[in-house]
Point group: C2
Chain length 338, copies 2
């Protein structure tokens, strides 16, 4: 099966057609009869002719590829979001390039600058969240490369955004804990400057203010993406303060909190309640089952991709600021006993 | 920031150089002084000149992109493997295109055929596992597109392969359960024809044979990727037979087994032991903590990518059949009480 592939000239010869006619069949031009086009495509498959996409990209400047840029891959939320994006891309006959920033601003800039030259027709991005100078993103406009944000966004740009109700969901989660008698709450956050971290923190603070909680009883705990570092912050917190409940702004902080409680013999939910933003499909199998604020991750991806493909088709998106609702699912980790 | 990008002519004019000199700076040619090249690249960045990658791809037929083809994305094993692949690709200055087959043979064929035209320089693939005609893969040779398999491979092809010790690890897991007195074992599998499913099943069967287990006490249970379907098979099994231990060949089947046991009030490990192939980072937080056979997923990706880049650099891989060792971690789900 090491047969060499044939050239466009050989294909034209086999069909007894001119190379320019054959070439038109691969350019989606209207000036060729559908039957002729069908004949050419079938013969091409049979004989092993494949058009050079780089050459044809040069002609019609279409790569039929979109890029997804996101902070990380090994994460339930982003895996599900990409699944949604890919489904829509495949329906539209597009390829999906996946780029990971590792939450680094410099890497994000480098990736975006690398896309200026037309490798992709559009971009769907969840921001690294750092840096204040977003000129590298706005430059995409002069290259006619549309961008749609999902989840983590830059509020100072006017690109379409698909997010979830971060403020409201965190307000509700805190309100529920306070309604049930919790007096000291801790909010675990990785980056307060990232749009979603900030909105969730504000929801937490406003719920605490509504219940007249003294500031010292509404703690904001700065954690990091490093498991050991976050665990150590949480351990220190639980050793020095009596905390009634923890709200983790991302799944990995809930995992760190569980592990600390397990090691320190702190019982969830008897000694402390715990709820977390999480798309973990096995939250119900944890010990104890974890209460979650679950974002509609896959749907977020679908919505962002649909907006991008509307733009690529020349349509104006009906809504440039889509906000989807998260589900708060109370399980044993926030159970009250009275 | 909607400034138009400049052409190569404008850049050459601004530098008082010829366009051919400027062009050489973007082609990694040696016939240009490093200082001149530096000057050109800096000015290009300053003024906003970006070479057309499709044009330069056409010239040197290099896309500096590799493809990763895998059965699914929302899966801890594959997320980690891609992380390893991306790390090596980035070190080599390559982009990574990610394609998902959803374990469908037709989709795999379509994706591979779509790559014949040079979109990528090389492919790293975990096979869908279906279909016996692998001519579409061997055709890549005539296009000089190297391929490296990881995890799920086609044994009838001679491409380099990076796998784990599936037979040995499953043999050991079953042997341990039988050594400790289990008399009836069930092996949950999704596709017995996929290389890894088959190797694990053979390991299971040989361990049972070593302990002279009657065939009727060494059950192979065919499950699927559908959670409800698999759960129903497992529920039926546990209602009709007294099973001492389950070995799940993939993580999602362990999740189904846990859920069935929880709903049917079957206690792990008191009533039944459970061990699973899994890369779940929170196996220790499950109720009870799950015993796992953990593949070195990220390292598998790194090894596959290193082989691919060796080939792309014209080097002969030192080992075309790398087999990495999995870790068996016994936790409470396989605890014996005596």
């Amino acid at each position: 099966m090491s047969k060499q592939f044939i050239s466009i000239k050989e294909l034209a010869l086999a069909l007894n057609l001119s190379t320019s006619t054959v070439s038109r069949a691969f350019r989606n031009k209207d000036d060729i009869h559908p039957d002729t086009k069908k004949l050419i495509l079938e013969k091409a498959k049979e004989l092993g002719y494949y058009p050079n996409i780089y050459a044809s990209n040069l002609r019609n400047s279409k790569s039929r590829t979109i890029a997804v840029i996101m902070p990380e891959l090994a994460n339930n939320f982003f895996s599900l979001a990409v699944k949604g994006i890919e489904r829509v891309a495949q329906l539209n006959g597009y390829h999906t390039l996946i780029y990971v920033t590792d939450s680094l601003y410099e890497k994000e800039v480098e990736i975006i600058e690398d896309l200026y030259n037309g490798r992709v027709e559009g971009i769907i991005m969840s921001a690294s969240g750092e840096g204040n100078d977003h000129r590298y993103i706005n430059k995409l406009k002069s290259k006619n490369i549309p961008l749609v944000f999902f989840d983590r966004v830059y509020d100072d740009t006017d690109y379409p955004k698909v997010t979830t109700d971060d403020y409201e969901s965190c307000f509700k989660a805190a309100d529920y804990l306070l309604d049930n008698g919790c007096k000291t709450l801790a909010f675990l956050v990785i980056d307060k400057n990232v749009s979603i971290g900030n909105a969730r923190m504000k929801g937490f603070e406003d719920a605490c203010a509504k219940h007249n909680l003294p500031e010292d009883n509404a703690l904001i705990i700065d954690c990091s993406n490093d498991f050991d570092e976050s665990s150590s912050r949480i351990r220190q917190l639980l050793k020095t303060r009596k905390i009634d409940a923890i709200i983790a702004s991302v799944e990995r902080l809930a995992v760190a909190a569980y592990t600390v409680c397990l090691n320190e013999n702190i019982k969830i939910p008897e000694d402390i309640k715990l709820i977390s933003y999480s798309n973990l499909s096995i939250a119900h199998l944890l010990n104890p089952p974890l209460s979650t604020i679950a974002q509609p991750a896959e749907n977020l991806g679908v919505n962002a991709a649909e907006i991008l493909f509307d733009i690529l088709k020349g349509l104006e998106p009906t809504n440039k600021n889509v906000i989807l609702k998260s589900d708060i699912i109370q399980r044993k980790s926030t159970q009250f006993f009275r």
